[in-house]
Symmetry: C2
DNA sequence: CCAATAATAGAAATAACATTCCCCAAAGCT
DNA sequence: AGCTTTGGGGAATGTTATTTCTATTATTGG
């Protein structure tokens, strides 16, 4: 352990995690075989990852197209005055709206960067108008629409 | 089915998918109970989702901090001349580099928007320099560093 | 309106898998 | 060398997924 948070991983750990990042349904026995361990020590490592929170969760990833979510938008938002209270109000909206899938504060002249998904452009526009523009705390929202998604992965580079 | 791709989901389907987007380890029996079905029909619906590709995959989500990936960067990239060949070369790099977790072409004056994760700023700089800047096809790379991640979810709004 | 048929739900049996327990070997320490 | 700690192997156990079969509910043609 280098500092309080980071965990040291040996090459076998990294192999296990790489496999699980691609497919969490792999039976422990298969993983064990592929990384050169037998079932129980392999299972113990995975259990440790879960207990330590290194594996945050296991989820199903859905296809946005098939559920009718064809539009991805990147919005940069600037607050009118960046007071504590305004930030709190904005961040509460972010937490509440399921269309907002990612939100970061970033360097540069804008305050927030959001990734938002919606059924279509109208639905996106409605969401932005209802949630943000009628609010007095927002100075500007600038939207860039994704024309094509070349890559989207949840696999961290280990 | 509205068009060739989108699948109609009834309220029970949506409940099932919502649960599985949060936690794919839930036993079918639990899901069944929560949505008001018994085990087998619930299992059959889930199987159908998988067969149809609506559930793309099931994965483990890791904690970037704990594996030592503290830096998230949004890079906008413009190619020198946007020829077929240059685009192909750029997109091949995107596909190959695991640090690049998302990549989109977007509206506006830049060509590509990337989300990149790295151990630290030096590692990010090294990656950008090695992969992009020494290449003759890139006009400019503009990087915005994430200061704080307020939200990151893989749950689509159903 | 009724019977025939297809679609969907439920119950029970089986197979696959995760989880635990106990034992063993190697590496580090006194 | 003897002791302790760490990590692996194998088998028993419990849980869950999957399959098969049966019952119920819609749907359609007469």
């Amino acid at each position: 352990m280098v500092n309080g948070i980071v965990i040291d991983l040996d090459p076998i750990d990294i192999k296990i995690l790489s496999l699980l990042q691609k497919d969490s349904t792999l039976p422990t026995a298969d993983i064990a075989e592929r990384v050169g361990l037998s079932q129980s020590p392999c299972w113990r490592r995975i259990k440790r990852f879960r207990d330590e929170g290194l594996i945050r969760k296991e989820v199903c990833l859905l296809d946005p197209k098939i559920v009718g979510l064809g539009v991805t938008v990147f919005a940069t938002v600037t607050l009118l005055r960046h007071s504590e209270e305004n930030a709190r109000q904005f961040e509460a909206i972010v937490a509440r709206r399921p269309e907002i899938m990612e939100c970061y504060t970033v360097t540069g002249d804008r305050d927030y960067l959001l990734r938002i998904v919606a059924k279509d452009i109208e639905a996106y526009d409605r969401m932005i108008t209802d949630q943000f523009l009628h609010l007095s705390i927002i100075q500007s929202v600038s939207s860039r629409f994704a024309l094509r998604s070349l890559k989207y992965t949840t696999e961290l580079p280990l």
